[in-house]
């Protein structure tokens, strides 16, 4: 069981990571990540009965992905990531954190908001005293029908 102040710091890291991505503040997001950070979006297909990886990058890959965004034609509808931390398991200087994730998309014209995707964050958080950073984020999606898709990771 994580101490309340430690759990609070971990939860705040998860929530701040959502806020940074929602705001398109990618440098701020990466500042919350370890140098050997790895980010993966995965899901299971009941159609082909296989686990699938849909995105997998190390920190450098994420930096490049964010840096290339202005060169691409993308849907500009903002996303709102809503996370709820379910479990925090401390193992030495590492915390394994599972959070529920809902991603909402708000249309620019009229502002209608629709549920875009649901899934879970499986985060590995590196602890260094009061400091907590993301070492690994695995987004396990339940939603697989994403319309015309999106260029920015969840």
């Amino acid at each position: 069981m994580a101490k309340p102040e430690l759990r609070q710091a971990i939860e705040e890291l998860i929530y701040r990571s959502c806020l940074a991505l929602d705001a398109g503040e990618y440098k701020a997001f990466l500042a919350m990540c370890e140098n050997d950070f790895r980010y993966t979006i995965a899901t299971y297909s009941p159609e082909i009965r296989r686990d699938m990886v849909w995105l997998d990058h190390d920190r450098k890959g994420m930096e490049t992905l964010f840096g290339n965004l202005p060169k691409h034609n993308s849907d500009h509808s903002p996303l709102t990531r809503h996370a709820t931390v379910y479990t925090v398991e401390i193992d030495g200087d590492v915390a394994n954190v599972v959070s529920a994730l809902q991603v909402f998309r708000t249309l620019l014209d009229g502002g209608a908001t629709e549920l875009f995707a649901v899934g879970r964050f499986h985060d590995t958080v590196k602890l260094d005293g009061a400091d907590a950073k993301l070492a690994r984020r695995l987004v396990k999606l339940e939603t697989r029908l994403l319309g015309y898709g999106y260029h920015v990771p969840f």
């Binding site: 082909i48 699938m52 990886v53 999106y150």
Partner: protein, 405 residues
Amino acid sequence: MAKSAAEWNAPPKFPATHYVDSRIYTDQAIFDEEREKLFKPSWIIACHESEIAAPYDYRLFNHPAGVPLIVVRGDDGNVRAFYNICPHRGNTILYDPSGNAKRMTCIFHQWSFDSRGNCVDITRAEQGYQDRFCKADAGLREVRCELAFGGFVWVNLVDDCAPVREFVGGALDILEPYMQQPMEIFHYHKAHVRTNFKLWHDTNSEFYHDFIHYFNRITGMLQPGYFQRKYTGFPNGHATVGSMQVQYDKYDGSKERRVGWPGLAPGGWYMIDIFPGMTYNLRTSVLRIDTAIPIGPNEVIIEFRGLGLKSDSAEERSQRVFDHNMIWGPFGRNLHEDLLGVHGQGRAMRGGTDSRWVLQGREENSTIHDECGMRHYYAEWSRRMGRPAYDPYREGKPEPALQAA
């Protein structure tokens, strides 16, 4: 110079074969006719054999003509396809999109069928039907099914249709040398888009839209060989696009693909569009297959499959998945752009928008930015539909087109 209403509605100044009437993308009656005349008699890819590898493995498929199908590998190893409709009360037999079922049993009244389509159990048959109806009368409706062109399962709803090789003709000859080794699916997802299915096939049939893709501009359009890629049309509306050497390392964050494809030159890329809505896309290390499942005139579900080689090591497979996702996954750089493109067309062409014509007038000696691929498709569309795509309501051949013809 901006146009008046009259100018906007006037036929384009091209030969009539070089544009289509926008209403073929929005009209419900035309769509219903397309299901009957384009999709029903065509061979359609339902799945890949690796999705039903073991006896009794099955896969559901919503045929573009509207019929729900079960594709199942039988106890004898043969693959067959049946309507997913119980002959008793018309209920759905199987619900999960895939699985393994020695017996396919309708949950409604527990009628049961084997992997060859035979009815093997009718609950309380004798009490209810006496000798008037028996299991032999209650088989599933089987449809034509063939494994071909890379181990894909092709289905056809017409019993006396010609074999799939006759339908495809020589269109896949260009790819056959690269499909000799067993392949395996590693990616599947659907995209539901408010647009017409033909607009997606159009996107796969022309490369002029590479201007939407930063990735393709930097790794292809700006590289040697790009403008030499050529289209070739084949009977039945199919078309192919020749290869080039894609320079993957020109995109920041990408690099030359380490894993290639047996026999394919490094960076090679072939595309084959199969009428009326399928595409083989072999791009250096991954084979992608698109299958359009139209829902309505302005609504389509596109099935995307990614395949590697069955013999892949874990490292090779991982690299193929990475290569696939870089451009073609739901978060890939190119697929999102392509889907945005046809989504935009769907927005602009839905009923009442006064969209009028779609131009297909580029002529560049059948090279990569020529729009002959689309023109070839609509020539077949017009043949099957019994009227030209530029004049689907027989309102009279437009004057400029008449002159050009």
